[in-house]
């Protein structure tokens, strides 16, 4: 069972080398980070230059690689394999300072006016600020185009959907205000012609809006790019997980996220049943059988791999290598 599954996951990568943005989505704690790390490891061993990065403020790449990489940019783990955890707080601080500097420069001020300073600080305290900052940082990462593969260690489902909906709402919203801004520009020009001024000042705000729009389109464009993105759902053979995943898959489909398939994690090896095992484990196995049947019936061919429950936590390169073997074969 594991063997054929293994091959289909590998086949996706071999048949679609153009899919350079790899994402694992699913409920929290099902193994997204593990799969991200193992996939990155396998691709790097195949000779590709890979960056695995976390968009989760509570990132755990540091834990899985057993190295503190938080806020340190892309850190080389092994040759070709780079990992990055974005420090959202740091990024927000730098961004605030950039805005302050811009205000001081533009108006030749010594100090940012109190009302404005309050606003800058209040804005940074908004909960959405962290998400937006990471969202924006991801754009910096992917536009650099330094790597063959970008592996997103995604946030749990709810947040990922929030990103997607944020992108489409932002997009429409910015279209509207860009149109308003352009109309304002026309009135300025009318007045300028009447007053026989040669030309109006270029609208810096309009330029800024177009920049924001471009950034947002870039990141949401990748999430929904059928050519270059592979999105995998992680599920485990448990009732709640299956139900939630199906629901989420429907929502993702509505945002046009190209779903490449499902990976079933934490499958207790069935061969155990032939051994002397306690009733407790036998019941678990029995229950799992039912859920696996549900998964087969409902997801069928879309399941690319069944990954066995490991005997210990997956941290450190040794265990990551083992996991990569389970996912992709040698």
């Amino acid at each position: 069972m594991t063997k054929e599954g293994t091959l289909s996951l590998r086949k996706i990568f071999e048949e679609h080398p153009e899919r350079r943005y790899i994402m694992f989505g699913g409920k929290g704690g099902l193994g997204k980070t593990t799969f991200s790390a193992a996939t990155a490891y396998w691709l790097a061993k195949q000779g590709h230059k890979v960056l695995v990065f976390s968009v989760d403020p509570q990132a755990s790449l540091s834990d899985i690689f057993q190295r503190d990489i938080f806020g340190k940019g892309a850190v080389e783990i092994i040759p070709n394999l780079y990992a990055q955890e974005i420090d959202a707080d740091q990024r927000i601080k730098e961004y605030q300072n950039m805005i302050r500097r811009k205000i001081l420069d533009m108006y030749g001020l010594e100090q940012v006016p109190e009302e404005i300073e309050n606003y800058i600080q209040a804005a940074a305290a908004e909960p959405a600020m962290e998400e937006s900052a990471i969202f924006d940082a991801v754009v910096d990462i992917v536009v650099s185009a330094e790597y063959d593969y970008y592996i997103y260690d995604l946030v749990p489902l709810g947040h990922a959907l929030y990103y997607l909906s944020m992108a489409s709402v932002y997009d429409q919203w910015i279209d509207k205000i860009t149109a308003l801004r352009a109309e304002m520009e026309e009135y300025s020009q009318v007045a300028a012609i009447m007053q026989r001024k040669k030309e109006t000042e270029e609208d810096a705000i309009l330029r800024e809006l177009q920049y924001i729009k471009e950034r947002i389109n870039k990141s949401s464009g990748i999430l929904t790019d059928r050519e270059r993105t592979a999105f995998f759902f992680v599920v485990i053979p448990e009732e709640m997980a299956i139900l939630d995943t199906k629901k989420a898959a429907g929502l993702f489909a509505r945002y046009d996220v190209p779903l490449s398939g499902y990976i079933v994690n934490r499958v207790i090896p069935e061969t155990l049943a032939q051994q002397q095992i306690p009733d407790y484990l036998r019941h678990r196995l029995e229950m799992q059988k039912g859920h696996l049947a549900t998964i087969k019936r409902e997801l069928g061919d879309e399941v690319l791999a069944y990954i066995p429950e490991m005997e210990r936590d997956i941290t450190g390169l040794g265990m990551i290598e083992k996991m990569a073997y389970e996912m992709f074969g040698g």
Partner: protein
């Protein structure tokens, strides 16, 4: 303008100014006034949370902030003041 020019503007210049005063001035005043209202509308929808109306994701509204610093105080006054009859005459 230098004093020399102020003393004896050319006939054509004078004619242009008169024509502008008769026809163009009102139109350009109207255009600028419309633009002014739109400017405030624009700031409201981008910077609304200054008034307690969260509209734009704050991360991106900060990018716009430097450009609207001079308008912030007049805009707040305009948005928050009570309306009365004299507004119609303005």
């Amino acid at each position: 303008m230098t004093e020399e020019e102020q003393k004896k503007p050319g006939f054509l210049e004078t004619a242009k100014s008169i024509l502008y005063g008769m026809a163009g001035h009102d139109m350009s005043r109207y255009a600028l006034k419309t633009r002014g209202s739109m400017e405030h509308l624009f700031i409201l929808i981008t910077m609304g949370d200054l008034l307690g109306i969260p509209i734009l994701p704050p991360y991106y509204s900060l990018r716009i902030l430097p450009y609207v610093v001079p308008q912030i105080s007049t805009w707040k006054r305009r948005m928050l003041r009570e309306r009365d009859l004299t507004d119609a005459l303005a």
